[in-house]
Symmetry: C2
Subunit: 195 residues, 2 copies
């Protein structure tokens, strides 16, 4: 069971981690922003590593929930939904993807967090791969997962780069290039048999 206070703490911690990195904020910063004392944070999350693992776990869970069934809808609608998730994160105070950022600092994180980051990556790759299979009729196998991984990576990179310029338009422009080049499939190309 997740309490309201746990959620408040996680919300605030997530915002800080997404803008400063997991090692870029302290329990004191976090407590001050939430409006409680550092010792109270420890009551809910004994160690910072456990807080971080909970952060990443919730993040992945929410993504899976938002994305939903990868076979429910047309290819372009599903991809648009996927892209919208990344875009919304970036638009929300210029945040980087939480797990993308954790992947960057990976060696500085406790093992439990590293595992959660890997789960996030896998959730993305498997969902996009499922969309590609259902929407394009591509055969199963490494090839589809390789393409899914490339799409995921490109969007993570676009977030990373766009964050610097503090402009969501930069992200949109990169996504447009990904789509126009054929990396990210769209309905038009599929109907034309180019994908």
């Amino acid at each position: 069971m997740i309490t309201q206070m746990q959620n408040d703490i996680l919300d605030t911690a997530q915002a800080m981690a997404q803008s400063r990195g997991f090692n870029g904020f302290s329990f004191r910063d976090l407590a001050a922003a939430v409006g409680i004392k550092p010792a109270s944070i420890h009551y809910y999350f004994p160690t910072k590593g456990e807080l971080g693992a909970a952060l990443a776990s919730r993040y992945t869970g929410r993504l899976v929930e938002i994305l939903g069934d990868p076979s429910d809808g047309r290819l372009d609608a599903l991809m648009a939904r996927y892209i919208a998730v990344f875009r919304a994160t970036l638009q929300d105070d210029g945040r980087m993807c939480l797990c993308g950022l954790m992947a960057a600092e990976l060696d500085a994180l406790p093992e439990a967090m590293q595992t959660e980051v890997a789960r996030f990556v896998e959730a993305n790759v498997s969902w996009v791969a499922a969309v590609l299979r259902a929407g394009t009729g591509l055969a199963d196998g490494v090839e589809v997962r390789a393409r899914a991984r490339a799409i995921f990576a490109a969007l993570e990179g676009a977030m990373l780069v766009a964050r610097g310029s503090r402009d969501v338009a930069a992200f949109d422009a990169m996504v447009e290039v990904f789509t126009a080049s054929g990396l990210i499939p769209n309905a038009k190309r599929v109907s034309e048999g180019q994908f």
Copy 2:
């Protein structure tokens, strides 16, 4: 003038920053790895922020030097050289791009470092854009820079994702998808007029 000791310190600091993030190592860690005392680090770099700015600046300078003239060579050779720079970083003990990682933790870095990160991004985008102009005959303008930015972002994302699996082959597979899809141009496609 850059002394030998300054270079040793920067080399070690760079390796640590690339695997743990800039906030993931201390002057104590750094000094121990170099084989000197923390106070001696301060002699060369008064503050950690100045060390970080020097790190990013040297990193960008080396990139520019390695890449060379963007109009000297064929399109596919130039792009191959560009990709090889990222690949070499990843292969070298599984490191993430220094400035890509700094871009992730951006809000936690002093302003001087943020400026250097922006310079790195600009160096990449302008070099790739120049290659695209010379090699594909594309007109100048926002469009070429948008494509260059997308290519840079995709490679940064590929490094980020590949680092998790500790396998350079994952990076190669993503680059292959980028190339096959047409995001990263190659000579064959250009000669066929598809780009």
